[in-house]
Symmetry: C2
């Protein structure tokens, strides 16, 4: 099977929205942006044995890569519109491709994001996705907008995905519903698009937790020229996580594990209760975990010790 | 060196145009399109030993990948604006990175295209570039616009890049200026952006010759529901190519070699002389190589034999 028939068979959408002037099938995709909007783009590569384990189910592979990529749009409070896929494959196995593309399109459907272009090459398995979203002019949430004294909030629970990865790799035993929940949290990390749109006019800065809370909150601190004081006992840990590991391990994963794809954001301290309460009415779970403080030598302080957190790594290191 | 310091050191542009609201340094790049324009995007992966030989100079590696990617914008007659880079590297060698990024930015400068985002991962060398350009609404040149009887034209010379690759791989001996010219044609395939803008209002369809003339013209034929008759003696072959191989080999490479990144396009037959002559005044070399004909069983007919061209492959097969 050559590249052209492979794309035709497994990756060509047969129906596009009006904003896709030309989808797959020419030298470029041609796309129409809404008026008075800015384009947001992010590109992300996932490699076997690095971003996901070898035994990871094929039908979740492209889907997970897409969830992770869309999470970067959520971090800006952008609305997903289109994505492209550069797929490198050891061989063109029809069963593999059918399963991969079916999972990918299911995930795409979740966000109403359309596959508009791609490239397939032969080589060691690699999945590169670029996502494209839109945001009203000057409404994007940046890392750099936090002010001193802002409340720091996170969505959902942290640490689950690291536990889930350990379960998938048979390094951690979890049982029944806990096992299912934790592995799902690694395998299918829904990007917090709706939450991001809710906080767009309320938050001063935002990032998604992909590399670990300390690493990602560190980026907000760097970009906003601030430090942060975190109350570690306030960090939201799920019942499934606490049922599967001890408190110290749960907290370590929550702070450094990464892969949760929750949002970490700041709001003026006087508004944080309203954000939590109004969010709850829409089904969103937000938790205050600390406050920004004036810039110090160390970015992130443990409020219990008054010292920086001590871990070997603050988050995922690619090299 | 971790991912963040690597990007800061080698890939962060320190000055952007006004259309880049946010470049590298947040979860997404934020980009502003000109009014009344459409966005054109294309993504392309290049792998060692597949798209370029292992001994290929590092300073030309990223540059070549960018030229090739920008060529897809030329094929639509779009103007280059931005690109993203997903780079997978076996290790983060400072000399390698300095040379790679310097060559990349030199090439970017040629097109005034700006690096706005990226991702670096650790693994077997792979370079994925997505290019973003703009075109006035409904002005893009598609593959599907050719009409029966249109003249088929190409820019520049064909077959040089295949010869150049063989020279680089020590499979072909070329001498002095011919050697330099042919290897340059493989290593630094300038995308035909200016030529494309010149033909925008004159051509009915367009593609860039990346996989080989027969393969790429075949895409125009498929999309336009036509066939083509080619006068092979009219196919433009460079002096350097003809000085280095016999006529039959030169023609084979011109028809099937790929990697030339010239434009192949159609114009109404009555206008082709004007296109060639007006183009020549601007320094562009266009050659008529045949005409479109009603759809037949075989896409592309050799006018000398009245039969399809006989080659093992019509062009580069990725699988």
């Amino acid at each position: 099977m050559n590249e052209f028939s492979l794309i035709q068979k497994y990756f060509k959408q047969h129906k596009y929205s009006k904003n896709v002037v030309m989808g797959i099938g020419d030298d470029c995709a041609i796309l129409e942006l809404p008026k008075q909007s800015h384009l947001c783009v992010s590109i992300d590569t996932q490699l076997v044995n690095r971003h996901f384990p070898e035994q990871f189910p094929v039908n979740l592979l492209g889907a997970r890569a897409l969830h992770c990529a869309v999470s970067d749009l959520a971090a800006m409070s952008a609305s997903p519109l289109w994505f492209t896929l550069a797929l490198t494959l050891p061989n063109a196995n029809p069963d593999w491709l059918a399963s991969f593309s079916e999972g990918l399109f299911d995930a795409a459907h979740t966000y109403s994001i359309q596959l508009v272009g791609g490239d397939t090459t032969s080589g060691p398995l690699a999945i590169t996705i670029q996502v494209h979203g839109v945001v009203d002019e000057n409404k994007a949430l940046l890392r750099s907008g936090a002010h001193e004294g802002d409340a720091i909030l996170v969505s959902g629970y942290l640490g689950d995905a690291a536990a889930g990865l350990n379960v998938i790799q048979n390094k951690l035993i979890a049982k029944g519903a806990n096992k299912q929940y934790l592995t799902n949290r690694f395998s299918t990390p829904y990007a917090r698009i709706k939450e991001a749109q809710f906080i767009q006019s309320r938050a001063t800065s935002c990032i998604d937790v992909s590399d670990g809370l300390l690493a990602d909150l560190g980026h907000i601190c760097d970009a906003s020229e601030l430090s942060a004081r975190i109350v570690s006992s306030e960090i939201p840990l799920s019942e499934s996580l606490l049922a599967s590991v001890d408190q110290a391990q749960a907290l370590t994963w929550a702070l450094t594990g990464g892969d949760d794809y929750e949002l970490c954001f700041t709001v003026p301290n006087e508004h944080y209760k309203a954000v939590i309460n109004q969010g709850a009415l829409l089904g969103f779970r937000f938790t205050k975990i600390g406050n920004t403080i004036p810039k110090m030598n160390k970015d992130i302080i443990d409020s219990e010790t008054g010292q920086p957190f001590h871990f070997l790594n603050r988050g995922y290191q690619h090299f």
